[in-house]
């Protein structure tokens, strides 16, 4: 599932990042946003998502929110979340 489908204030684990823009993945990495790390959706604003990564709040647009795939936290890495995955 994508960030856009996350429940608010619930911890998720980043599964993969598929960013089309050059270097964006690397940049996200330096913020601590990479597969395996936790991410929390804090608020939905019009075409914007406020997320918490490593105790910092970022607002990301829907394009980027769709580029970040997550799975519910606490599940083994091999289990793929189906459910409301897009």
């Amino acid at each position: 599932m994508k960030i856009t489908d996350c429940k608010l204030h619930t911890e998720y684990q980043i599964a993969s990042i598929l960013a089309t823009e050059e270097d964006m993945k690397e940049f996200l990495f330096t913020l601590g946003c990479y597969p395996g790390e936790r991410i929390v959706l804090i608020s939905r604003l019009p075409s914007m998502y406020v997320v918490d990564i490593k105790n910092s709040r970022y607002s990301i647009d829907d394009g980027l929110a769709k580029a970040i795939s997550v799975r519910e936290s606490g599940q083994p890495a091999s289990v793929r979340v189906v459910g409301n995955a897009v």
Binding site: P46, Y58, S59, L64
Partner: protein, 668 residues
């Protein structure tokens, strides 16, 4: 010795820099406020040893692998100019992200001291950090600092620690990150960086305990819901800007200006009185009407500018302006820019030069160049006196003039962005990501410092460039080509008039084909404040602000008569000055950031065309609505406007056919 300040964006580097050097560089709570390195020496009270201690403030960076060009300034400086020590500023509320950069800095072989900044906030957030353990694990001094406080802020110990690590020459051992080596390949780097984060996470687990985390700021989120609302976002922004203009232009500004103009008047009389009868009349008028009158007319608007900047600084400090970027992102996406472009534009409301420099935070080249081209359309501090003057003379000091100019600028930017995207044919989209600063009660002190900074720059400019320009204008107006003093009866024979008259012809379709206005528009390219100064000198209105009337531009009826144009033409002239190219200094800055002659000349031509066509529309449509018939020179202006718009359409067509061609070639 040279000490570099490095750290993540918004960790408080510039605040700390100001606190240890006593300087007053501009601080902000979003990335892009510091986009170049700044140097200063440590102030005496923190430097008891009286050593030569130079501190270098660097743009914020998240890592040693730069994402945008201002981040590379930081990397290049610490790598190539090898400072003697690095003070790594770590946001204490954000240890887990900050230490990633720290671990990279420690591999450079330069002694590192850590400033655990914002230490006052960790108590509020119930975070406990074991500083001693952190120091032991990292193997470098860790000093708690609160750079916003003036006493007991840890800065003395920090400066001392930096000198100590340098003097001891003891090699600091970098953290053990598995596989870390210089010159790693990209795929190796990825693995190393993952290991690096593992090491950092480990350290944070050991030294930090936090109770609440930042996922619970419900009040903040509620405010966000309102100010970034789909429909309310823009009206709220508009009302706030209107409030800012109305406070500065209609209430507080005039009241303060009144006092200041009183002083300028008495100074004028003092100089006039002390010169007596024996001074050469040409010299006397140069000094009185040219220099004191011209500079005085500009300086009279200083209180207005100060009030405006004070309030904009409060807004920025509160965290609201970052939300404006969120609101605007949606609209800017439609024109091929992103919310990132709004930051240079907001900075440009102070001065276009730092605004254009702030485009360095934009990664996409076309977006960066487009933003550098459009940011100068925002009404900067130097354009405010022009706005205030025309709002006063023609519209009774109404705040809607400033507000509508502000939003007209945004509209012009949106339209131009669309046109430029069509011309370049680049349809690439960018993601938007921005760290969201928390709302806070804005600091009166920070706003006051920012305001005084602006005021200082304004006064310096008035006393140098503006003064010289006014003197030259007065001289050119006083003499004719035979260097004889021009008589009262034939002002149009002066050098200035004969130079400006041909230009005035071009302005007839815009409603202000009068040589004084043409001359003022030209001197405006040297500095926009000159427009007001030159109008004051050429029309011999020594000051626009009347002490009796308590209005920003008083005797506005008189000035109105002297100007000899109507309100519609006044508005058209205002629009012309706001939307033609910025001053030469800003054009120089555009040149530096665009790194392309083609773009620079394209931008200047575009801005000239924009100013001309817009004021043509304002004057002719305004005249049509108010009088029922079009104004003077309609046909000529229409032809000129059609040619300009036609050329842009041609460029768009050319762009799209060449793209189709390349598509066809690709397919074939």
């Amino acid at each position: 010795m040279k000490i570099a300040l490095a750290g993540n964006p918004n960790s408080g580097k510039t605040t700390l820099f100001n606190a240890i050097t006593g300087k007053i560089e501009h601080v902000g709570n979003w990335p892009g406020v510091t986009v170049e390195k700044k140097e200063g020496s440590v102030k005496a009270s923190l430097n008891p040893g009286k050593r030569n201690l130079i501190v270098v403030d660097l743009p914020g960076a998240y890592s040693m692998s730069p994402y945008t060009s201002e981040e590379s300034i930081t990397r290049d400086f610490v790598q190539k100019e090898s400072p003697d020590a690095i003070i790594n500023i770590v946001d204490a509320t954000n240890l887990s992200r900050s230490l990633f950069f720290t671990s990279q800095l420690m591999e450079l072989g330069i002694p590192v001291v850590i400033a655990l900044n914002k230490s006052d906030l960790i108590q509020k957030k119930e975070i406990v950090i074991d500083t001693e353990l952190l120091q032991e694990i990292l193997g470098c001094p860790v000093v708690r600092t609160i750079s916003t406080k003036t006493t007991n802020n840890g800065l003395g110990s920090l400066v001392k620690a930096a000198q100590q690590v340098f003097d001891e020459k003891k090699q600091q051992r970098p953290l053990h990150v598995k596989g870390a080596k210089p010159n790693a390949t990209k795929s190796e780097m990825e693995q190393i960086d993952k290991n690096r984060f593992t090491v950092v996470n480990d350290i944070v687990d050991r030294v930090e305990r936090r109770k609440s985390d930042s996922s619970n700021h419900t009040i903040q989120d509620k405010i966000d819901k309102v100010v970034a609302h789909r429909w309310l976002g823009i009206p709220i922004f508009a009302s706030i800007i209107w409030l800012v203009f109305s406070l500065s232009q209609s209430w507080v500004g005039p009241w303060l200006a009144d006092v200041l103009v009183g002083w300028i008047d008495s100074f004028y009389s003092l100089v006039e009185g002390s010169m007596g009868e024996n001074v050469n009349p040409v010299l006397a008028t140069l000094l009185l009407d040219g220099i004191i009158g011209g500079v005085g007319a500009v300086v009279g608007f200083l209180p207005l500018i100060m009030v405006l900047f004070f309030m904009l600084a409060l807004l920025e400090d509160s965290g609201y302006m970052a939300r404006v970027a969120l609101v605007m992102d949606r609209y800017f996406k439609k024109i091929g820019l992103s919310g990132k472009s709004i930051i240079p534009m907001i900075v440009s409301t102070g001065c276009a030069i730092p605004g254009i420099m702030a485009t360095r935070t934009i990664k996409n080249e076309r977006q960066r160049r487009t933003t550098a081209m459009l940011a100068p359309f925002m009404p900067c501090g130097a354009k405010l006196p022009i706005i205030a003057l025309f709002a006063g003379v023609f519209f009774g000091d109404n705040a809607w003039v400033g507000t509508s100019m502000y939003f007209l600028a945004i509209l012009v930017i949106v339209l131009s962005g669309l046109v430029i995207r069509k011309i370049t044919g680049d349809t690439s989209k960018s993601y938007f990501i921005m760290e969201l600063p928390e709302y806070r009660f804005p600091s009166i002190k920070r706003a006051a410092i920012s305001m005084l900074n602006r005021a200082k720059a304004f006064i310096i400019k008035a006393g140098t460039i503006i003064l010289i320009c006014n003197a030259i204008v007065k001289m050119l107006q006083t003499f004719n080509w035979q260097f004889q003093v021009v008589g009262q009866s034939a002002p149009e024979t002066s050098i200035l008039a004969s130079l400006a008259t041909p230009l005035a012809w071009i302005f007839i379709p815009l409603g202000f084909g009068i040589w004084q206005f043409a001359a003022a528009a030209i001197t405006g390219f040297i500095a926009k404040e000159n427009v007001v100064g030159t109008l004051a000198v050429t029309f011999a209105v020594t000051n626009f602000i009347d002490v009796e009337e308590l209005a920003l531009v008083a005797g506005s009826a008189d000035v109105h008569t002297v100007f000899g144009i109507g309100a519609v033409a006044g508005l058209s002239y205002l629009v012309f000055n706001l939307f033609t190219p910025p001053c030469f200094a800003a054009i120089g800055s555009m040149n530096a950031e665009m790194e392309s002659r083609k773009w620079l000349w394209g931008a200047i031509t575009f801005q000239l065309g924009m100013g001309y066509v817009l004021s043509f529309l304002v004057y002719q449509l305004g005249t049509l609505f108010t009088t029922g018939s079009v104004g003077a020179g309609f046909l000529g202006g229409l032809v000129a406007s059609f040619l300009m718009v036609g050329y842009v359409v041609f460029l768009i067509r050319k762009g799209s056919t060449s793209r189709q061609k390349s598509l066809v070639e690709e397919v074939a």
